[in-house]
Every structure is written in C-alpha cells, then in structure tokens.
Amino acid sequence: MSDLELEERFKKRLEEKFGGDISESTIQRRRRLWLTVKPERLVDLMRFLRDEMGFDHLATITGMDLGENLAAFYHTTDQHNIITVRARPPRATPVLPTVRDVFPGTESYERELEDLFGIKIEGLPAGRHYPLPDDFPAGQHPLRKDWKLTDAYPEPAVKEAK
C-alpha cells in the first residue's frame, strides 16, 4: 500500500474533517480518489478541498442518471490527483447548491446539469439555456435515461422536399 500513501492521506484528512457527511470514499488507483458527500455539505467540502488541500481546479462536473437518484460528479484536481466528489440528489426533488462561490468558472457546467439532467442548481442566477436551444421544450432533459428524441421532436421539422 506504500505507493498509495498520498491518496490514503487525502482520504484520512477528508474523513476526519467531514466524518459521517462523506461516504463511499475509495481509492480507485494511484491519483484517483472517489467519495460521496451529502448535498448540504457539498460547498463546504469544495471550499475545504480548494483552500486546505490545494485542489484549486474544478475540471468539470459530470451529470448522471442513476434511476432513483440523479447525480453530479465534481472532478477536482490539484493537477496531479483527481478527487471526484459525488452528490446524489433524489430524482423527485433534484436540487444541488451552486459551487460558483468557490469555483467561479463553473457556470456552464452547472447550466449543463440544469439543462441536460434537470438538476436545479440553487444560487445560479437566471440565464439563458446552455447548451440546449432557447426554444427547447421546458421540462425535458435529454441526458436522462428515459428521454427519447421523439419527446422533443415528435416529427422531423421538415418532412419531404417538393
């Protein structure tokens, strides 16, 4: 295990600080740590990662449809390691807080979660759709597993040429 010393240290530090609020922390391999956090502690955890542990770059946020739950994976990095923080809001009330106060450059990633997965991001100012078109039907989220193309486009916009 000696080659995973650094990863163990990260894991221990986070577990000490956040205790029961984080779970499923696993070292997947060298340089990769995964953990799940309760949505209400997400922002605190992100701030801790940035300020105390040097994970000052949020590379992206991956949205996921897990059935009962939706999920957002926050891939943070200190350039050498990636700590992925999972937050899993329930599908019935999918709400997550914004992490913009910690990582200001993440607006488009959070809008993607809103548009493509229908995860409401609390604290994200009202704005245009991204990346879907402005006239995309409301309440439809293409990357959810139950979404079909015909939901938004019942028939081709242009049928047959003359």
Binding site: A59, T60, H80, I82, T84, Y109, P131, L132, A157, V158
Partner: protein
C-alpha cells in the same frame, strides 16, 4: 459618454464559429463583456450512449476537427482503464507521435489565424504553407489529414514503418526550422508586438480562479501541463520543457504556442528514435465490464477531461466530454474588459476557441436520417418557418 450595447455573433464576419458576445462599449473601449454559448450543440454525449465503444471512437473523433486525436485518446484511455487492458508500448509511442503532430498542426493553424487577426496576412500565408508539411506527416502516419482515426480499442490501427519514420524525421527538421523562424518573427516584429503586447490581459490569480487551462494559463505564468503533472502514455520518459510566459497577454500566448511547437518537434524526434519493437495493438473484448474512469489529457488547447462509465455491455452507460475551450471561455470577458473594440477578435482568437468542441452535442434525427444533409430548399423553408413563428414573414420573398 453614453454606452452602446453591441451583440457580436453568433454569426459575425469577425468570428470563425458560432458564439455570441454581448459587448458594452463606451466609445471604442469595451466596458463590459458577456459570453453566450450553445449554438453548436449536437448531442454527442447522448449519441455515445446509444453506440458501441468502437463506434464511439469515431463519433468522439468528430467532437472536434482539430484536436480529434486528443478526444479519442482521452476517451480510449478511460475505456482501456475500465477494461483493464494494458496496451503495448509501441502503441503508446505511436499515440504520442500523432498527438504531438496534432499539436504542431493546431498551433501552426492558430498562429496563422492570429496573424490574420493582427492584419499580418503574409505571416498567415507562410505559416499555413508550412503547416502542409505536418498535415502530410499525419496523412503518412494515419492515412488521413484531419480525422486520423489512429486509435482503436487496445492500441493503434497503423504501424510506423522505417520509410515513414525517415520521411517524418526529414519533415520535422523543416518544421522545426520554420517554427524557429516564426518565433523570431513573432517576438521581434514591431507590428506583431504593437498588436499583442498588453492586449487581453489575464492576471495569474484570475486564470487559476476561473479554471482556465492550457496555453491560456501558461501564458499567465501558471506552470500547468497534464503531460508533466500527470504523465500519461509515455510522457514520463520524454525530455521536454514546460513553456510558460509571464506577460499574461496575447503576446505571451503567441510565445507559449510557438515555443511549444518547437518542443513538440523535439518530442516527435525522441519518440521516433525510441519506438520500441512489438505489436501495435492487443485484443480487448468488445464487452467492457462495469466500472468508471476519469482521465485528463493535454490537448493543444489545454486540459481535456473525459469520464466514461461502463455497465458490462458493449455500450457505455455514460460518456462525458469536457473540451479545453469550455474551461477557457469564462476568462474571455475578463480579457476583453477595458480593451479596445478593434482588439476583440484577436483576444477571442487568442484562447484558440473551438465552438463545436465546447458545445459538442445536432440532435441525431433518426426518423429523418435521409435529411441529415438538408437541401437548399429545405433549409430555406425551415428558415422561413423559424422567422414566421417570431412574427416576420419572409414567404413572399423570392430568390433569383
């Protein structure tokens, strides 16, 4: 002086691809800028879930026309990690050669565009003429000039023969010599200096705070490069310099890119001479086990990150692509603020933006597969319908 709002784009002669900037001008100076994205969404991530891992290689290659190898390599390393496939050293080396050729190609393309935006068309023409060498190299190695399709699950599709190696070495010498000449030109020519120095300034701390990446941050003095920080493929065995500049402006971005091109030429030469013997690919079952992986890759424009989740079938459960340009966009309004209107196209070009990369995703229209390419008549009818819904009637307009 009263302020004027100027929408720039999504269709504008000063932009090469669809994006919208909202500029607030005070006289000729930019007071405030905002950025709007999403004009190029093609639904690649959704489409990837409906295709097999092999098909996805070719789909993901088309996320971007310039860093196509970057995206497939990043994706395929995730898949191979999930499948626990250790690919042969020779395959890794060939991937690096194509990656660095791609970087040379991308940076020279960018230098040409930057020269064009500066108004230095002679440089633009010369750079693009020399860029033909690297496109020929790519064609020699991969068979294609743009979408190389060299990657496959478990390795690469084509080998590098001694003849190809000899030809590459010859052409790399030419490219390196030419790039060195452009380095001198771009850093000493007075018109280039006048147009780039102190233009589009992005301070170091802001670059980090906004999560920018690649040459954009390196030009702000941030020594970050995935090839150095988290070496993938065989980069840990290679000797190359991490280039940074501390001027934080467009000039710095020019310097970083031209010097990186020289470094890439050095890398290609090293790898060609290192090229270990052995097979170029291994067999990997098409059904990939359950699991997930996230990997980063230093694309020509910066850090590219892919996340792949497998569910035990031959199709991925989820593929996530974050191209470097998306990370750099939010820095652009800061670069524009306080600058001049005339510098706007240059500053935007200086992050080397790639719209289709960031927006990825045309909804794949299965029902109308035959209409994938619309006829002029169909496009016109669709346009008329689009504006009719917004209260403008163009149906009476006839075209000669």
């Amino acid at each position: 002086m009263s302020k004027i709002n100027v929408p720039l784009g999504p269709q504008h002669p000063g932009l090469k691809e669809p994006i919208n900037f909202g500029l607030v001008l005070e006289g000729e100076q930019v007071d405030k800028a905002t950025v709007n994205l999403g004009y190029n969404h093609r639904g690649v991530e959704k489409a990837a879930e409906e295709r097999t891992y092999i098909q996805d290689i070719y789909l993901i290659e088309r996320v971007c026309g310039i860093c196509s190898h970057s995206h497939t390599t990043c994706y395929i390393t995730c898949v191979e990690e999930i499948a626990k496939a250790e690919i042969p050293e020779r395959a890794k080396a060939i991937r690096v050669i194509v990656a660095e050729l791609e970087r040379v190609h991308s940076h020279l393309l960018w230098l040409g565009i930057a020269a064009y935006e500066i108004g230095f068309d002679t440089l633009f023409m010369y750079v693009w003429r020399d860029r033909e060498h690297v496109l020929d190299c790519l064609e020699l190695v991969a068979g294609n000039r743009v979408h190389y399709a060299i990657n496959t699950l478990g390795g690469v599709r084509r080998d590098i023969t001694p003849e190809i190696k000899a030809e590459l070495l010859k052409r790399i010498d030419v490219l390196e010599a030419r790039t060195k000449y452009y380095t001198t030109l771009a850093t000493e020519e007075t018109t280039v200096l006048a147009r780039t120095q102190n233009v589009g300034v992005l301070p170091r701390d802001l670059a980090i705070k906004l999560g920018a990446c690649g040459p954009t941050t390196r030009a702000s003095g941030v020594a970050r490069d995935v090839r150095k920080d988290e070496p993938y493929l065989i980069y840990d065995k290679l000797d190359f310099k991490l280039i940074t500049a501390d001027t934080c402006d467009v000039f710095g971005r020019v310097v970083v890119r031209v010097l990186e091109t020289v470094e890439s030429c050095k890398i290609i030469r090293q790898v060609l001479n290192y090229l270990p013997e052995g097979p170029i690919s291994i067999k990997v079952p098409w059904k990939v086990p359950e699991g997930e992986a996230v990997n980063r890759y230093e694309a020509p424009r910066g850090e590219d990150i892919h996340y792949v989740k497998g569910n035990g079938t031959d199709k991925p459960e989820r593929v996530k692509v974050r191209a470097p340009t998306l990370a750099n966009y939010h820095a652009v309004p800061h670069m524009l603020q306080g600058g001049w209107m005339a510098d706007v196209p240059l500053v935007i070009a200086a992050i080397d933006p790639c719209m289709s990369c960031s927006d990825r995703a045309l909804v794949t229209d299965k029902a109308a597969a035959s209409s994938a390419v619309w006829s002029w008549e169909e496009m016109r009818r669709n346009g008329i319908e689009f504006y009719r819904r917004r209260g403008v009637d163009f149906s009476k307009v006839t075209l000669k």
